[in-house]
Point group: C2
Chain length 261, copies 2
DNA sequence: CAGTGGTCTAGACCACTCA
DNA sequence: GAGTGGTCTAGACCACTGT
């Protein structure tokens, strides 16, 4: 040890010590959200380690979602996420009557944000397996596939891909138009005999793929919520499936429900 | 460039190329779940880069949750997570009658896993703010705090901290005993006039803190589901709050519910 | 321009696993 | 003991941001 030039001890876990120092300082509000941390080079000299070691400490905090690095600017304490909450009532008729943005727009507007939805593609395909099983149809059946990207205050928040049997949507705007009219897509379904009455929501969380991180501009250390939503009508028939990928620093889910029907 | 010894080109994004090679190979099932990837030193030599660069490529895949590194053994393609699903009916009376493990045990058993719950502490404290607001009580009010750790097949899966007003649980096993009897904790609540009738579940996802990662043995690239559960009785009075931290590679949530009451 | 994070090199020793 | 990942060094140049 004493032989190694310029150093004396420490080898294992140096970066953990630095990381913990920074965590503590953040917890003690020596750095508040938005503040810039010392540069990697500064950390290295003050802790008497190589820059890479200081950098590794920063990498830990990034993985935990505590800080965000900005190339050329510095490393900043991340602002506490301001979650947008989605609940089952976003599908209720009352939420739809005053705008044409659908459940997302209604929730976003109710929470003081400016929503924007971009429908990037509408195609007709064979039902993928995950869709077919939820709609109780075969994978030979044609479905419409509508891909939507959702923004709040200009920031990308989530992606949603909606599928519905072609036989149901044929001839309606759902099959070929981005504009769903004043009552949104569920107004259209309702008009053809499928009023959304029950929903099923299957929720999991995972890290984004590199593609998702790109498209949704997801910072380091932020997972996605992966949600399969199924719309079910009054006859208990599923008529629509949407696969949402939501930034977990923006979206939260909030359900209240009876324990039994 | 040509001046640097032993190399010729490439500087930017080398590790991304390597990472993409590996991703593609995994997608093409050249490596299947459980397989060992080439060692960092092998990757370095075959791609003609320094070991740190190969290592960075691996780090990317770890962040995405695609692979897991095991010290001294190698880097392995992660097995597809086998999620355990939790739904609203885990709180129904029917799920409780055949065992004393509560909602978790019932779900785990139903899914062919061996559940185990470890109640690590039972204390009496002033209600924390997050609890008080959900129970509609003040932060001066005493509550019981019960900390539980949940295991499936011996692996730690989630942590749950339950709070309930002291005035409700006083004199019952909920206040001081790990053993909740054959009908579980909700049987106890039911016996003192608070049958669970509605629930509210507030769901978000984030990366684990370093403490959580330790205690739940969470591998790299796996987020946690952070869930606040509120139990509400037939009179619409909230009587119990539980804060769950779940490993997102084990737990998924699955709710079916009416859009309106 | 100076200062920042991003990437890379070519080594080194440590800690762990397994034959 | 051989092979693996984990950590560290002391440099280097690139890409980006701001003055």
């Amino acid at each position: 040890m004493a032989a190694s030039p310029g150093r004396d001890q420490a080898q294992h876990g140096d970066f953990r010590v630095i990381a913990q120092h920074l965590r503590d300082a953040i917890a003690a509000r020596e750095y508040v959200p938005g503040d810039k941390l010392p540069s990697e080079r500064d950390l290295a000299t003050t802790h008497r380690v190589a820059r890479n070691t200081a950098r590794e400490a920063i990498a830990q905090l990034r993985k935990e979602g505590l800080v965000t690095a900005e190339h050329g600017r510095g490393v900043f304490v991340r602002a506490k996420p301001r979650w947008m909450r989605f609940g089952r009532r976003r599908y209720s008729a009352a939420m739809r009557t005053f705008n044409g943005l659908g459940p997302f727009g209604a929730e976003a507007a109710a929470q003081g944000r400016t929503p924007h939805v971009d429908c990037t593609s509408i195609t007709r395909i064979k039902a993928p397996a995950e869709v077919a099983s939820r709609l109780s149809i075969s994978t030979d059946t044609d479905v419409v596939r509508r891909e939507n990207w959702y923004f709040a205050d200009g920031e990308p928040v989530q992606k949603g891909v909606t599928f519905a049997p072609w036989t149901i949507v044929e001839g309606t705007p759902v099959a070929d138009s981005a504009d769903m009219g004043p009552k949104g897509i569920y107004g259209q379904f309702s008009a053809c005999g499928h009023a959304i009455t029950y929903i099923r929501e299957e929720i999991s969380a995972r890290m984004p793929t590199s593609t998702e991180a790109d498209r949704l501009k997801i910072p380091d250390g932020v997972p996605v919520i992966d949600l399969w939503h199924t719309g079910i009508d009054a006859n208990r028939q599923p008529f629509e499936v949407t696969h949402f990928i939501m930034r977990a620093d923006f979206a939260a889910l909030d359900y209240d429900m009876p324990v039994e029907d």
